[in-house]
Amino acid sequence: MAFTKILTQLAGGMWVSIQIFLVTLIFSLPLGLLVSFGRMSKNRVIEAVVKFYISVMRGTPLMLQLMVVYFGPYYLFGLKVSNGYRLWAAFIGFVINYAAYFAEIYRSGIQSMPAGQYEAAKLLGYSKNQTFFRIIFPQVVKRILPSVTNEVITLVKDTSLAFTISVLEMFAVAKALASSQTSLIPFVAAGLFYYVFNLVVALLMEYIEKRMNYYQ
């Protein structure tokens, strides 16, 4: 089988991988911010619940989490799920897992902000919301960008874990092709795909970091 033919077969899987990647980022970045607020909440109950959620998300394999999200509705509640639920389960599993990691990154950034910035904002009459969104958050983004880049690059490779719940993403397709063709070439192509994908991500993040270098 020609390399180009393998590539066209893999293309469908690539698109699914990219979908998982984009959906995860779009939803877990804002959700992570909310979770970090919960983690830093003065309300002890909220803080404890969020802390437990984060420790479970970080303390168990993502593969297992995906299986719980996919099989949970049937085994826990007896709900019959359609075949289309696979991809949704992947989206949900990835989003809640990455939100936990992003929450801790946000928290580290927010807590590293000097108290003087809050005090200056208070004296100038900013409300709490204004202080956060006008003064604190823009500076936090710059501080956490390197950690976020790390996480995003891990995400590109983690999308392959969706194959454990039979989502036909890049890696699942490559594996199927490899066994039907008894060839390693699909794996080589898959490896290339992840590498190039991450190269693009790294370049993009580097560009953003440079754009934020106008101060300090």
Binding site: G116, Q117, E119, L123, L124, G125, Y126, R134, Q216
Partner: protein, 254 residues
Amino acid sequence: MHVLEMNHVEKSFNEQKVLRDISLSVKEGEILSVIGPSGSGKSTLLRCATMLEEMDRGELFYLGDKAVWNGSDGASVYAKKEKLKEIQKNYGLVFQNFHLFPHMTVLNNIIDAPIHVQKRSKEGAVQEAMELLQKMGLADKADAYPCQLSGGQCQRVAIARALALNPKILFFDEPTSALDPELTGEVLKVIKSLADLHIAMVIVTHEMAFARDISDRVIFMAEGVIVEEGTPEEVFASNNVRTQNFLGRYGEIL
């Protein structure tokens, strides 16, 4: 009427009494300097006056409006949030370490609060900011970022930022302590030039000559109490042993 009035203020940090029964008042347009050794409670006094720190006991008024008073159990009671927000508009604070917003240009540092807090028009805010920068000798730095400025320039921007909100009283917390002697001079010059704006000023400082020249009144603090209070001439020529000890050789030079 007094712009600021503080009565019998007490403040402790973990059993350590930092302010013991401090009372002071500032008239409109008056310039008051607070001098004293490190650890005497000067900064804590400013932080209590600006409500960055909560006092344990005592009263605080701005233009006759009650911000803090003593409850029936003797501990301080603060007014409602909205009321405090209203009262807060009367004063500004210039920090020792400036605390400019590093992600904003000099101009945006100054106009951001007038536009987003006071809801003033952008044109008006920009025009006033440029006038302030002119006064500070920094008109050409409007588009620079704080990291591109010297410490003295940063402090002048911080002063402009505080003035842009038109406070009735401006507090300075050791405004030149983070600066070398040359930069100190340029900042003190700017503060002196504010005297004709008729804004009341309370200046915590270690610059004795400056305190003597600019002030209508000087307070000498030590160990959390006001040891002496009077005109610069009175305090600097004081016979009080504690005051003399602090002023030390400075008194002889005079």
